[in-house]
Each structure stands twice: as structure tokens, then as C-alpha cells.
């Protein structure tokens, strides 16, 4: 039994438009008493859920080390090719040397990025996260090319439950680092 759209002719009363006008005004005035659903935007900010996909950022572990090991997986997966990585070694002088690699330069073009979150999904080090920054502004194209420092500043530290760096460092010091 199909469901067919009913088409009732208007009653005599309805042809005077009065019930519709009164009904419409009733709805309108009804909303005067209800709570407003709008947000006065720049003053009030919306609540951002935890897994929001905002601007991609680089994070550090609680010891202040850059987690990214410049494996370039995110660079390859990024659909609009917004990420450019220049891989490099960690300088000898640093206490983190011989543990892992680190990006010499890491750049994300926010005008190309489509905030898809694939980089966060593939990253084996949990080093890149799309966090809650949702308004990016700038006046030139160059300003939207976020460099490593800016990305790290936006990212901030995130807890790392794997202690991978500490383990690797200990292994390297006891002579079986094997890179």
C-alpha cells in the first residue's frame, strides 16, 4: 500500500487566511518565550568536541621532545599534498641524538589543507594532531604556510603513553640501538 501525498482542499474558514495568519503569529510569539539558540559569536565561543578536526599541529611529548621522526608517511597520504617535509638528523650535540630522526623543516600549507585528518590517522608516532583551532587568518599566501615552529607552538605537549624515546635512548646507550 503506497503512501500518497494528500491534497486537502482548503476549508471555507481557511480561505479567509485568518487561521493561517493567527497560527503563524502564534508560532512566532511562542518563540519569544523560548530560549535563544543563537550564539553571539566572537564573544561566545562554541563548545568544541574532543575529536574535532581543526588545524593540523605537531605535538611534543611531556619531556619537550618533538615526536615527529620525519617518516614522511603523512606527506604521502595527504590528498591535496599540503605537507612538505625536509627530513634531517638530530644534531650530534643534542641529548636526543642517535635515537631517531627529526624533520629539518616541516611545512603545512593551510590553504591547501582540507582538514581531512588522514595525516593524524597514519602517523605511527602520534606526532601530528588535528586540534581545536578552527579559525585561521592571514593576509598573504605566505602567512598560511605554517612552519615547524608555528605548528609546534599550536600543538603544545600531549601525553605519550609509549615512552618510546626513553626506551630507545636507554637501548642506544647500552649499545644495542641498531638504527
Amino acid at each position: 500500500m503506497p503512501l500518497v501525498i494528500e491534497r486537502k482542499p482548503l476549508t471555507k474558514l481557511e480561505k479567509t487566511w485568518l487561521p493561517q495568519i493567527i497560527g503563524g503569529l502564534k508560532t512566532t510569539f511562542g518563540y519569544l518565550r523560548k530560549e535563544s539558540v543563537t550564539l553571539q559569536y566572537p564573544e561566545e565561543r562554541p563548545v568544541i568536541p574532543e575529536n574535532y578536526r581543526g588545524v593540523p599541529t605537531l605535538v611534543k611529548d611531556p619531556n619537550g621532545r618533538v615526536k615527529c621522526v620525519s617518516c614522511q608517511l603523512c606527506e604521502f597520504v595527504c590528498p591535496p599534498r599540503a605537507i612538505t617535509i625536509d627530513p634531517g638528523e638530530i644534531p650530534e650535540a643534542s641529548e636526543q641524538a642517535h635515537v631517531e630522526k627529526a624533520p629539518r623543516e616541516f611545512e603545512i600549507d593551510m590553504l591547501r589543507c582540507i582538514y581531512c585528518g588522514l595525516c593524524q590517522e597514519v602517523c605511527p608516532e602520534e606526532a601530528i594532531f588535528l586540534q581545536n583551532v578552527y579559525s585561521v587568518t592571514g593576509t598573504t599566501r605566505e602567512e598560511f604556510k605554517y612552519k615547524k615552529e608555528k605548528l609546534l607552538e599550536l600543538g603544545g605537549p600531549l601525553p605519550d603513553r609509549h615512552f618510546k624515546w626513553d626506551k630507545k635512548k636507554a637501548a642506544a646507550e647500552s649499545g644495542n640501538g641498531g638504527h
Binding site: 500518497v4 501525498i5 588522514l118
Partner: protein, 393 residues
Amino acid sequence: MNPPSETGSPSPNPAESPRYRTAGYDSDAQLLEVSLGPQHPSTHGVFRMNVALDGEDVVKLKPVFGYLHRNHEQIAEQVSYLGSMPYTDRLDYFCSLSNNWAYAAAVEKLAGIDVPERAEYIRVITSELTRLVNHTSFLGFMLSDMGAWGTVLMYAFREREKILDLFESLTGSRMMGNYMRFGGCRCDLPPGWLEQARKVVDGYPAFLDEMESLIATNEIVISRTQRIGRLPADKAVNGSMTGPCLRASGVNYDIRKVDRYGIYDRFEFRVPLGDHGDCYDRLMIRFLEMRETLKILRPALRDIPEGPVMDPKARQRNLRPPEGEAYARVEAPKGELGFYLISDASDKPYRYRVRPPSLINLTLLEDLCLGEKIADVMVILGTIDIVLGEVDR
């Protein structure tokens, strides 16, 4: 005779221009050629119509599209299978999760991947919520096209917002879901999501009643939609129209019923039909569809089982499906959305093709508009419910 001008500058005599089909008009009459759009607020984006008018009557109409062409299909042939998933969100940006499903289904068919039960439920729930979002905003835009500027749109957006909040906490983005993956969904539902969704679904009938009471008996709506833009069933079928517009012409064709894809055979719902095929039917069928959608959502939200949401064997990156081709389609809110893929066993599709419902429904615009008044063209275009992101790709 002049060659057809592609820029839309009026040719000396539009009546003779081969761009148009002639439709019973007095050829001695002075025709006026008007270019509507591409920046007209009622064309739902950058869409242009070249209309030839005899007085106020439309005698010829030519849709011009392509202003929003983004090369979606070619880009998808250059990136990996996973890489085009976020781009499918941007086809019909009101219905990103149905688009995700259609694309994931095509790749799953190609690579022979199974989907776990819970993920099937999540897919049905999210794409039916998408249908609510689409039809609700359709009502708002449609009524603004008719001149009820603002109010209805705000009421509609207030309701849509509640569902977008659900999407935001589930997928991390309000409109660009990028949520489905080959063999399931990206992440499980966050805690408390189901209760929140049940609350939204339970509150929806009240909104629909309010909206319907404001629209269904409104004199202006009735006189601007009834008997306007009639589309007979045979013409609709010949023009491969799908979705609510086809059903408003009285053709009982809903892919959820025809293909019974996913787990749609587990739900009781009816397919609403229209019997006049005019704008009023195309408008009111959306109300009935939303009410039927609620009938799917309630049991789905109740019965959703626990379990994994991803097939653990399914690969996302470096997916290399065996050689072959696959076409998968879903009943997107606007009609049949299909993805056609050919694999040559590499990590990129050899051919990637979208069958967008908006574009194919739009090809019937001229048939609907001939003989109508110029002011009704906007209403007719509104009832077809197009999104330019999908028309132009």
C-alpha cells in the same frame, strides 16, 4: 544563422538559435533573452540559466553549468583509493556521509571487503540523519526561493544544527564527515552519542508538525506550487530522474527497497509517492520522507549491536583491489548516487566516475519550465533540490 554563442551574449534572434528547443510559441513574437545567474541567490550556487521569454512565459531555457568544476574525477584517478574519501564529502556537501557510504560501498565491492554488523547500523543511522539534514535545509531554501526570506530557513537551520552537532562529535567535522572507511567506519560512536541521537529523533516530529502546519495550508505556498512545473511519470523515467522528484511523479522507485543494500531490509518503512508530479508534490514528499526516515532511525538506534566497527583485515592505505570493475549505488537524499570504479590492480583507480543525482535531475529542468512564468522557474529549480558541488564536481 549565427553560431551558438557560448558566452550568453544575446544572439540577434534567440528564436533561431540552435541552442534551444522550440516549444509552441508565436515565432513572430519578440523574445527576450535573460541570463539568470550565475550569481543569482536563488540558483543555489554558481548556476546559470539562459531563458528566452515571451512576455513572462518561458519558451526556452538552457541550463549552463560547470562554474564550480573541480576536476573531482580526474583528481581521484591521481590519488590513492583512501585519498579520494575526503573529496567525496565535497560532492554534495549537505550529505557527506551518504557520499562516503556510496564510495566505500563501491570500493568494498571491488576489493571484496565485508562490513561488520555494528558498522552497517552506524551507516544506516548516519545516512538517514543526513537525509533529515538535507530535506530540512531543502525546506528552508525552497521557502526562501518563494519569498519567505529568512524565517523558515532559520527554523530549518535550528533543527539541522542539532544533527550537525551529532555529526561533529562523531566525525570531528560538521559537514565534511570523512567518516566511512573500506570495511567499516573510522571510529566508534562516542559515549552518550546514541542517547543524544535518540533525543534528536524524538524531538523531530514536533518540528515537522510545526513546519507542516506553517506550510501545507499557506495560501501563497499553495498557489505558487500547485499545478506548477508538472512532470509526467514517463518523462521523469525517460530523463532518468531519481529520488524524491521521481517519486513525486508517482513512480515507486527507491533504491533502499529495490537493491535492499546494507541492512535496509530489516526496517519497516514505506515509500511516499505523489500523484500530480507538480511542485507541491515535490515539496510535500520531503515531509513524508522525513517521517519515514524517523521510522528507520528509531529501531536502528534501539537495536544497534555492540562489536567492532572495522573489518580488521581491510586495508586502507596501499589498497590494491584485484583487476575488475564495480558500480555501487545508494539512495542519497537527492536520488541515486553511484560510484563506478575500474581497477587495474594498482593503488589508484584506473577509472573513477560519479553518477550524481543532482546533475541528472537537473537535465529535466527545461521540460519542467516550458510554458511557466519566469517567477516560477526559481520555485521549480528549488524543488529539484540541486547542490552545485555535485552538479559540477
